[in-house]
Every structure is written in C-alpha cells, then in structure tokens.
C-alpha cells in the first residue's frame, strides 16, 4: 500500500478543460501579479498535490506556525513556508477576498483568491528556516532579495508551466497509479540535486534491497552556482539506470522545485513531498540539503525525532566510502578497516576533476555516468546564471 497523502487527501487544484477556457478569459480581466520560475513551480506543485494538504500559498497563521512550530495550524508537520511574495505596488487596489491572476512568462498561470495580505520579517524567516542570517548562505541570499509582502490564499491552476523534462515528469496522482500498477508496497524515495556517484548508488541499492521499488526524484529548477545543470543530472541518471539498475524496480522522474539549502528543515520537507508521491520510505543523506558548514553532518537525521507522526519512514543510510581492503563500497558499520584504507567520495573533488576534463576513477563514478557529464560543454551552473 502506497503512503496516504499528507493530511489524508491528495489535493487537486487544477481546473477541468471545460472551465479552463472561461477562467483564462476571466484571468485577463483580473489584477495581475508576475511570478518567477520558483513561484510558478510552487503553484503547480500545490495544484497537483505535491504539497498536499496545501491548497494555496500560506496565510499568516500557517506561516507563523511553520516558522515557530514546524507544523501547520492544523498541527500537521510542515517545515518550509510555501509563500508568495509581492511588492506593495503590485497589489494597489487589491483587497482580501479579491481574485488575482498569477502570470508566468506573460501567460496566465493561476487564479488566486486573496485571503490575506501580510508583512514578513526576512531575518526572522532566515534565522528560523536556515538557522543563519549569513548572506553567504544561498537560501538566505535569495530570501533577502524577495519582495516585501506576502499573499496567502487558495489557487486554481489554469495550465502547467512549461517543462523541458515533460517526458520524465510525473505528478503524485501518476506515481501513485504507477506504483500500484507495478505492485509496489514499499517504496524508497531518493531526493537528489547531484549527478550520481558510487556512494549514491550504494545508498540507493541498500534501500532497494529491502523495499519493492526505488523512486529517484531529482530536483530541477533554481540551484546555486556551481551545482550541476538539470540536463546533466537527468542524463547521468538515465545512463546509470540503463547500465546498472534492473529497470522494473526503478522509477526516475523529475520534480521542479527550488533547492532551499535549508538542511534539516528541508530534509523533512523533502520527505513530506515524497510521501505525497506515494513513497513509504525516504532516504535521508548525511548533511541532507546542507551547504557549506551551516549544519551538523547528522542534524538532518536528528530532526526526524520531532515528527513521529510524519507518515513516511526515514532511512538513515550511512555515508558510503570505498575501502581498499574490502575492495568495495562500504560504510563504517560494516567495514572494520582503519581510515588509511578508506577513500571518501568528495563532491568537491569530483567537481574539480570534471572541471579539468579528467575522468573520475571507477570506484568513484561509473564510466558511463562520467562520459555523459564530460560530454557536456558546461556541466555546472555559472555564477551569472543563478
């Protein structure tokens, strides 16, 4: 049995084709708010149930509860505020109770019923969500650039934002049908923003050993400079699955959602989202969703103790390394050999090798994976692109 959606019901705020035409016309007459890629992705995620039980952007009561208690006002676990920010001049003449149209790339995206307009304290947000106000933290820097007011209210999605990976993008209602069609009852979800190296493969296969299926769900969308490009991540995973995974036990599907780099809070958020996709288990990595040295290596594990009612089982799989004595990928629980025999796979080291056009050794990365990355002229997001 796949997981029950968070809150018990999978939210659907998409509109039927019959209503869409009329609502599209109506949207053109409404006050207009232009949204960026991340907000458009959040709107689509709300409408397709990825963020169930949310039916819209958060009103103040939920926002404050999430910041202070890591729960919605109905007490359901929720750790990252899903908010829509606007400038005061964007909403001149808009009152609570009005409908507005959210536009993305010049096209109507959704109609929103404005339930509440409220101010927010970005420093407080940063401190509570990211545990720092350091502007060098990519999530904090992005927060400080956001607009001054928040609007809360339910939305009706008129159409999906454009998705370059449409052929490997599944929504929760689709993965739920898919998992059932495959007869999977225990599904381990894997969140990633990276290309796969041998450590990832080890962790995924360890989880797959005692579940029925593996749901690999890379994030596409905004990431910080220096991270791998979406198309590189997708190609690398396709290569790995093609050559090294039994296809009938793996599903690869992308999720358009921005990385927040909020460490422990984001780990819980990632788990809730995968619960909505139907996963029963969620692999939580060491320093999951972390960046720099802002979070302790196991903080993202410890936070799960606060959520016995999460409804998805976290899998704390230890960091894998290559042991020269064992001759394979292992972890500290199963390898008796001292540190001198252990080679840790560092993402930074891998990046440096790839940047210099060097093929990583096979104990670090599968050659087929390395090849597709090295074939790409610019595998990383540039400083001027994020």
């Amino acid at each position: 049995m796949v997981s029950r959606p968070h809150g018990g019901r999978l939210i659907d705020r998409t509109v039927s084709p019959k209503r869409r035409e009329r609502l599209l016309e109506e949207a053109r007459e409404l006050p207009r708010i232009n949204v960026n890629e991340s907000i458009a992705a959040d709107a689509a995620n709300i409408a397709h149930g990825v963020y169930s039980p949310l039916e819209g952007f958060m009103v103040q009561e939920d926002y404050i509860n999430v910041l202070d208690q890591m729960r919605l006002s109905n007490d359901l676990p929720w750790t990252i505020p899903i908010i829509l920010d606007v400038d005061p001049e964007d909403i001149i003449g808009v009152n609570e109770g009005d409908d507005i149209a959210l536009y993305y790339r010049g096209e109507p995206l959704a109609i929103m019923r404005v339930e509440e307009i409220y101010g927010w304290n970005k420093k407080e947000y940063a401190m509570k969500v990211f545990k720092t106000t350091d502007p060098n933290h990519p999530g904090v820097a992005k927060t400080f650039k956001r607009r001054e007011l928040l609007i809360g209210g339910s939305i009706d999605l008129l159409k999906d934002p454009p998705e370059p990976f449409e052929n490997i993008r599944l929504w929760p209602k689709e993965t739920r049908v898919l998992f059932e069609a495959r007869g999977w009852k225990r599904i381990a979800a894997f969140q990633t923003r990276n290309v796969p190296h041998m450590g990832h493969e080890y962790v995924q296969k360890a989880a797959l050993t005692f579940t029925d299926g593996l749901f690999i769900n890379p994030l596409v969308g905004w990431k910080k400079p220096g991270d791998y490009r979406d198309e590189v991540i997708v190609k690398a995973y396709k290569a790995l699955i093609e050559h090294y995974y039994p296809k009938e036990v793996v599903v690869l599907s992308v999720l358009r959602m921005e990385m927040r780099y909020a460490g422990p809070r984001e780990a819980v958020h990632h788990a809730i989202v995968r619960k909505n996709f139907g996963a029963t288990h969620f692999i939580v990595g060491r320093d999951h969703a972390g960046v720099g040295n802002y979070y302790g290596p196991y903080e993202a594990w410890e936070i799960f103790r606060e959520f016995p009612d999460l409804g998805i089982t976290p899998l704390f799989v230890r960091e894998a390394f290559y042991c020269k004595k064992c001759g394979q990928m292992v972890n500290e629980k199963i390898c008796p050999h001292p540190e001198e025999f252990r080679i840790r796979i560092s993402g930074t080291k891998l990046r440096k090798m790839i940047m210099s056009g060097q093929k990583p050794p096979e104990y670090m990365m599968r050659p087929e994976v390395a090849r597709v990355i090295l074939e790409h002229s610019k595998p990383f997001i540039g400083e001027d692109e994020a």
Binding site: G8, R9, R19, R22, K173, V177, A181
Partner: protein, 75 residues
C-alpha cells in the same frame, strides 16, 4: 432548478433562496455560465472526491493516467 430538455439529464428541486444565491454568485464571480453548471461542478467535486478518497482519481481519470504512463514507457 430549471429542467433542461435533454434525455440524459434529470431535473431536481432546490430551495429558491439557494438558487438565487447561486445565480448572484455566478453573476459576481463568473467561472460558470448557469446555476446548472455550478451545481453539476459542485456535485462532481463532492462525489469524485468521495469515490477517489485518497488518490483523488475517478476510474476514468485513472485510465487516462495509465495511458500517459504507457506512452512514456513507465508501464
């Protein structure tokens, strides 16, 4: 509620004040061309969510999902 002369449809009765409220709602909010359409929409919403409970899918929707999954090579 006004009866529509179509064999596949039936007429039902609702309170006049509710009908008037629904009519006013449509005039003010738009999105529906008639009270019938609004009532049909609300009934579909309630009944389909009742049927589909957790997954939020009718049998017909489930078939559509399976078609897409087949087309994409997932099943």
């Amino acid at each position: 509620m006004v009866h529509k002369d179509m064999t596949e449809k039936v007429s039902i009765e609702i309170r006049r004040d509710l009908y008037d409220k629904a009519k006013k709602f449509i005039e003010e909010q738009g999105g529906f061309s008639s009270v019938e359409e609004l009532v049909e929409f609300l009934l579909e919403e309630v009944l389909s969510s009742e049927e589909a409970e957790e997954r939020g899918l009718s049998k017909e929707d489930e078939e559509k999902v399976k078609e897409r999954l087949r087309a994409l090579g997932y099943i």
